[in-house]
Amino acid sequence: MLLTLAFGVLVLALVLVVASASAVHIERKRLLALADGAAADAADAIDLAAYYATPAGSPDAATRVPLSDASVEAAVQEYLRASPPALVAEFERLRVAEPTGTPDGTTAQVTLTATARPPLVPWALLPWSDGVALRVTSTARAG
């Protein structure tokens, strides 16, 4: 009897832990999709000062969309603000983190962090009561 109960509890715990882990993974994928969207939007957040500073004769003047850290940051904030509330509210403690900006002047890099809580076994996380920290970085470039 005791053996059976212990076996049952073990199997149930295993199932719940696996399901919770994959739920956290889904949440991370959603956060990555959000970061992708923000990066794709920020990739053409042109920094006009840099654009007009490019010499007219230089080879990449026609195709290059110059970005700056400030323009990317502003585009990401605007993207998050304009997203439907349900999409942003899904994430707990959603934040734009470092590195967000542009490493080379043409690529937009967006990092988002959020906290995920396994939906099925919240008590299993009591030792780590701040939840699971998610951190995703996405890059995009205007083509």
Binding site: M1, L3, T4, L5, F7, G8, V11, L12, V15, A19, S22, A23, I26, K29, R30, A33, L34, D36, G37, A40, D41, D44, A45, I46, V65, Y79, A82, S83, P84, A86, L87, A142
Partner: protein, 198 residues
């Protein structure tokens, strides 16, 4: 040495006195004399006792049967839970991927119609990958902020929603009570700024 018998020497007088004293006064604990205590302990431990041994023989194997029976009984709901969770998680994965791909396809589509039909196909494909049959036109909802939909810099909200039927629920039960789990995913896509309105 002859005959193979060992002669037991008769108990000495002193030994007889000791044994007698032991039986009479004895060592007492909890109102029980030593022989009584020993009998209780033996009975508790299950050693000795013909009746006890016979009962053991009658119950031999029942622990295994009990284990198997109870395991099956416990395993049925656990297996059902696994099936349901797997189905719902697969749908959640599919919806997430579908919304994302549909958004990307829309953002770089030549026209709204072409983009929408490609997005519908992407939704069907994403669900098919997870072994689910979903109608793309039904599952996909595209909402535009302005007109035209794919204006430069515009944001398009893509919503994918599907409902997962609980496994092994017969039709007449499913008709009476809701036996489906809704799964949704939303993605916001931004149309590139430097392109023509389409």
């Amino acid at each position: 040495m002859s005959g193979g018998t060992t002669s037991v020497p008769p108990p000495s007088a002193a030994a007889r006195v000791r044994a007698g004293r032991g039986r009479r006064a004895g060592w007492r604990w909890a109102g029980m004399t030593t022989p009584g205590l020993v009998a209780v302990v033996r009975a508790r431990l299950g050693v000795g006792g013909a009746e006890r041994r016979r009962a053991d023989e009658a119950e031999r194997g029942s622990a295994v049967v009990e284990f198997l029976g109870m395991s099956l009984l416990l395993l049925v709901p656990v297996v059902y839970l696994v099936l349901t969770l797997a189905q719902v998680q697969a749908a959640a994965f599919a919806a997430e991927g579908a919304a994302r791909e549909a958004g990307r396809l829309l953002a770089r589509a030549e026209s709204l119609e072409a983009g929408a039909s490609a997005a519908r196909f992407a939704v069907e494909l994403a669900f098919e990958d997870q072994g689910l049959d979903v109608d793309g036109a039904e599952a996909l909802r595209i909402s535009c902020a302005g007109e035209p939909c794919l204006a430069p810099g515009a944001r398009v909200v893509v919503e994918v929603s599907a409902s997962v039927d609980l496994p092994l629920v017969p039709d007449f039960v499913a008709d009476a009570v809701p036996a489906a789990v809704p799964v949704t995913a939303t993605h916001v896509t931004a149309v590139p700024q430097f392109r023509e309105a389409r």
